[in-house]
């Protein structure tokens, strides 16, 4: 076509400016700040690796927060994906009302990140809340969901698993795109339903499992609204004090911008390493049709 080879760049101008000013510059600045002592009032003072050393050797709040975060991600992401896949597999069948169910299950994903839903969670998991009333009705003892350090984090996990809808819709689209003749071939070979699901269905949808896994993980590491609103201060014994809450408090309550940047970078490196691990190992377990590796 007869236009200049730079014309495309003109259309990208907003993106390139935005990338430089709002992403690349802050990204590098935060790495720099993480090696400084910076309280907003003074100029950033270079302190070398002191922030990181302090984090890992003397900051018990950080170690607590880090372990809580890892536990949270390690429970929430697999539970959410397994549930999403389970429901998608049930829906992937000639059922009437499939659209109705799909919509109903998707609603929590739409609303779930809001303050209002976190408020709702406080009410239904309160000591006299809906969940305990339901337990009482079936003859079980009430549970101190929000006050028990062993359960506080789990209520946040439940809040996220409840929002399995968007992962489910992606799974469902993948399941519906599987060539039906593969199932017929499996049936002719005498494979049962469970066998077919494990050896035919699962391998074919590994690309979306991979996609959902990475996306949900990146997101789970950044959970903020739920624990911040449900618990005023990280919950009992800081049991729900995820790293983003700690970063928020250091940066925007205490204005320790250097120290907060160091925590943010620890979190970022964890996310990045896990993402890279997922990508590298994906060559072993993700199936791409036609064996195209991207």
């Amino acid at each position: 076509m007869g236009h200049s080879r730079y014309l495309g760049l003109l259309y990208l101008a907003p993106y390139i400016i935005g990338l430089l000013v709002f992403t690349a510059l802050p990204f590098l600045a935060s790495l720099y700040l993480s090696f400084t002592d910076y309280g907003l009032m003074n100029a950033p003072a270079w302190v070398g690796a002191d922030n990181y050393l302090h984090l890992f050797t003397r900051d018990r709040t950080f170690m607590r927060s880090l372990s809580v975060t890892l536990i949270y991600v390690a429970t929430t992401v697999p539970l959410k994906l397994a549930f999403a896949l389970f429901i998608a597999a049930i829906l992937n069948y000639k059922l009437s009302f499939i659209n109705f169910f799909r919509t109903a299950y998707y609603v929590p994903s739409i609303l779930g990140g809001s303050v209002a839903i976190a408020v709702l969670w406080r009410y239904i998991f309160a000591e006299a809340g809906l969940v305990n009333m339901a337990l009482f009705a079936v003859g079980l003892d009430p549970v101190n969901w929000l006050g028990d350090p062993d359960l506080a984090l789990f209520t946040i996990t439940l809040l996220r698993v409840w929002q399995f809808g968007s992962a489910m819709v992606i799974f469902l689209a993948a399941l519906q795109s599987i060539d039906k003749s593969l199932y017929e071939a499996a049936a002719i070979d005498g494979a049962g339903k469970a066998t077919t699901f494990i050896f035919v269905t699962l391998p074919l949808i590994t690309p979306v499992i991979f996609f959902n896994l990475v996306m949900q993980m990146v997101q789970a590491f950044q959970e903020f609204n739920g624990p911040y609103i449900i618990f005023n201060n990280g919950g009992p014994l800081k049991a729900a004090y995820l790293l983003p809450l700690y970063i928020y408090e250091e940066a925007f309550k205490k204005f320790e911008m250097g120290y907060a940047s160091a925590i943010a970078w620890v979190l970022f490196v964890i996310i990045m390493v896990l993402t890279v691990v997922a990508f590298v190992t994906s060559r072993k377990w993700v199936y791409y049709a036609g064996d195209k590796r991207s």
Binding site: H3, L7, G8, L9, Y11, L12, A13, P14, I17, G18, L19, F22, P26, F27, L33, I87, L91, S96, F101, T103, A104, Y105, V107, P108, S109, I110, L111, G113, S114, V115, A116, I117, V119, L120, Y123, A126, A128, A134, A137, Q163, S166, V169, I170, E184, V214, M215, Q216, V218, Q219, F221, F224, N225, Y228, I229, I247, Y248, F252, M257, A264, L267
Partner: protein
Amino acid sequence: MSAMPSAPPVLDDDDADMRAYVASEKRRERLSAMLRYTALFAVGLIMLYPLIWLVGASFKTNSEIFTSPGFLPAEPTLDGYVKGWQTSTPYNFGRFFWNTFLIVAPKVIGTVISCTLVAYGFARFDFPGKKLLFSLLIGTLLLPNVVTRIPQYILFRDFGWLDTYLPLWVPSAFAGDAFFVFMVVQFLRALPRDMEEAARVDGANSFQTLIFIVVPMLVPALISVALFQFMWTMNDFLGPLIYISSVEKFPVSLALKLSIDTTEAFEWNRILAMSVATLTPALVVFFLAQKYFIEGISVGGVKG
């Protein structure tokens, strides 16, 4: 409910064994369909009951909220809505909804325009550095916001933008939400190009082609982008929490949090009523436009 078991494979009708087999298969299919419905219905009820309860409880009196698990109020009252709407601040929720709109509107419009331009550049042009820029786009898709948040705050402070809505929407107007750009690129790549080439032959330049040929075809994708951005901005809490400090500028997410902090000890129905109020716009939009949400996820693969 009418169950629709999937059709059995075509079999030889003369074979009696086969017919018996087909009959038993049909029975099994019916049983399996029933099991599926039961499971779907049970899960659906557990999923949606908290929301149903929320709506019911918002019409209850404070003394009733923590005494019965049912959702129907014994003595329905609008007290929660009337008093909750007034808040304990000099401003009512009307003001907070208007503030939310002042953030949502420029953010949605800016996102749609910038994503269209950038996606068009990526999907229809070749230029030096395209591969690198596209890799960066995918990279920012996975880049956690948490790592850029602090320097962004310092940057916006230096711009004099603290306690204004600018930090909340300007980055989006520079195609800052890589996810949406990616979604529109995917959509554009799947569109046939013959119309665009015909327009070029007729002498239209690339911008005219974009406006008159590409944009009309992009409308469904752009609606999806606008809807997701609308939902996410309505729900956004951390952004306003960091940048907005005057109560008169609070969007509904901050106002609701403020209501919890100031009245929670006893006035539960006000909080629940305002929770319902803040969820209403998102719910209405979702039910009016749900097909765009489902399509949007299926095309781009959405987080959330």
